[in-house]
């Protein structure tokens, strides 16, 4: 009998990037139900962006919940220096053990210094429960 790890993936953009540096929710998972409270959820994400005027960095976070008020699972926002007018790809992995706080997660992006909206060409957020 085969066994599959519970997993989820999305490439559905829930909000466009704004013409400013406001942190914006890009991808959202459904609630992730773990087999045990001690289970680790492994995340892998990628975004491909065409940068616009004023931007100097992309700042990415994964948060618990579906809003920018949620707990950020990283030690800090993940920064990637960029310049305007470029096509860039940012990607990363991380993990979380939410314990009894089972629920959805979201990937958010801030465009540091942006005065015009960059274009999110493609991307995805994957989560699987180890």
């Amino acid at each position: 009998m085969g066994v599959r790890v519970n997993s989820f993936a999305t490439n559905t953009v829930v909000n466009p990037l704004p013409a400013n540096a406001t942190e914006t929710v890009i991808y959202v998972t459904p609630p992730l139900i773990t087999a045990a409270y001690s289970a680790t959820i492994f995340f892998r994400w990628t975004i491909n962006v065409t940068t616009n005027t004023g931007i100097t960095a992309l700042s990415v976070r994964i948060r618990r919940g579906i809003t920018i008020a949620g707990f950020s699972i990283g030690a800090a926002a993940w920064l990637s220096s960029v310049a305007s007018g470029l096509q860039v790809e940012a990607q990363g992995c991380y993990f979380d053990s939410a314990g009894a706080l089972e629920g959805p997660y979201c990937l958010t992006v801030s465009q540091t210094g942006a005065t015009a909206a960059s274009t999110l060409n493609d991307g995805c957020l994957m989560a699987f429960i180890l």
Partner: protein, 129 residues
């Protein structure tokens, strides 16, 4: 009945970022126990840093074990960088270590004459396939 795959993960920086060509373990996983001697281990890592003064190259290596003497899993992974810029580095690899209990470490090395980069965040995860 739920099934879980053996895995370990860490986001704890174990050593200060190095300057020059000093090698330093930055992330180090707890020991992982393989289900079978032939099992493969999937290694996935992320490193977010701001390049230090005079830094032009960041080299990332994965080690099987906590010590350099055990040897890198693969060739050096180089990234050309510019000082004071932030970089999000990420990758995956696979190891088939045979039977036993193993730790894995993420090591970085910079170019000669560089100052230590600033560690922002990182993660190293190993899970048994």
């Amino acid at each position: 009945m739920g099934v879980r795959f053996a895995s370990t993960c860490t986001n704890v920086q174990v050593n200060a970022m190095p300057s020059g060509t000093t090698q330093a373990n930055i992330l180090q996983s707890p020991p992982i126990v393989l289900a079978t001697d032939g099992a493969q281990v999937n290694l996935t890592w992320m490193l977010n840093l701001t390049a230090g003064t005079l830094t032009t190259q960041i080299t990332v290596q994965l080690l099987r074990g906590p010590a350099w003497a055990t040897g890198p899993l693969a060739t050096n992974w180089y990234t050309t960088v510019v000082a004071a810029k932030s970089y999000l580095l990420s990758g995956s690899y696979v190891d088939q270590p045979g039977g036993g209990v193993f730790q894995y470490a993420l090591v970085i090395v910079q170019n000669s004459g560089s100052s230590a980069s600033t560690y922002i965040d990182g993660a190293l995860l190993a899970f048994v396939l």
